[in-house]
Amino acid sequence: MIALLTRDLRLALRAGGGFGLGLAFFLILAVLVPLGVGPEPATLALIAPGILWVGALLACLLSLDRIFALDFEDGSLDLLATAPVPLEAVVTIKAVAHWLTTGLPLVLISPVLGLLLFLPAEAYLWLILSLLLGTPALSVIGTFGAALTVGLKRGGLLMSLLVLPLYIPTLVFGAEVVSRGAQGLAVGTPLALLGSITAGAVALLPFASALVLRINLR
């Protein structure tokens, strides 16, 4: 399992620049929004939590089809499915690898983008914390979407249609944490709800993903 994790990480880091793409997309979004909305700090500060969360969501989405597609094409997914490691574990590892290469860098870069969008100083801690708590759910849910569409041609667009509605609760609570933090309000409730969604998704969705993957590999 560790070998699978290091293999996936290595593939993501070395092969074809999939690693940087999500980050670059996140950055571009943070540049485009002020260009579109106008440079007033007050406006930007108001929408910054939402923009950063939507940006993280979309950046995550971009790299989802790489989770299984390459392994499916060269047949290593079939080998993984027949390996002694349970498929649920494989799926979890895949999600962890996706999070380490997409979610975690997003978390780390988000304060810089918060600066670009004039995020209020009180909100930085909550931005990082909410992304740290929420992005694992994005990876796990995304893995489910990727497993659903793995065998399909032109699966990418379909996957965004399937996955984005599933991201809604995470987005709502995540952005709520940051905007409440920015206004100096208590963030305990949305933070707890965000955490519970992540915990639930991490605990249950790998089973659904593995089930779906088995169906697709049949």
Binding site: L148, L161, P165
Partner: protein, 243 residues
Amino acid sequence: MASFWEYANPLKFMRTTDWLLPIVTVAAVVVTTIGLVWGFFFTPDDFRQGSTVKIVFLHVPSAMMAINIWVMMLVASLIWLIRRHHVSALAAKAAAPVGLVMTLIGLITGAVWGQPMWGTWWAWDPRLTSFLILFLFYLGYIALWAAIDDPDTGADLTAVLCLVGSVFAVLSRYAAIFWNQGLHQGASLSVQPGTRMDWAYKAPLYTCMVGFGLVFLALLLAGTRTEIRARRMKALVARERMA
């Protein structure tokens, strides 16, 4: 007493719906027409909302069906996953477009009503938002069915999507409530005493709800029959090729 599971046999299902479908169709047309005509032309105007109140006869039944159809799809998906009855999977497939249209009717009639009453076509109210999200779930479900060639794989994948989607749809509903307290009034109908609606409206409304249910049933049966026939056609073509 015949068991419900007998209808898992496509042959039995077809034979029963052969005579059942025309009856349901006629009943659906009659009841819905009575309900809508009654509601639109033979109810008094509300003293505050004027005649716009009558849109309730489209809005409430379609919104109710939009949710119920998703629940029906959930049950059908579960039956497919657990007992592998093809009719069940095909029924879920046939129900989805009806649900999509019901959601759309609910949204559009709501917008048309909201314009004069709330002064806006759209508000990011929890109920409205959850309905838009439900619409997206229907779209995703239908798109997944359309994208997969193999019918059994499609049935499996969409069934799992329906299960997972249901959980997330409920979560989204509560997230939307948490996110924004809304404009939308509470439930129009309630089984609790002290209801807010007069019988002059309630009677045609109940008629419309039954009518919409029958319309759904008729479309569901017709759609499932079409799917079964399409499957048979495929099997026939395959057999021809083998021979």
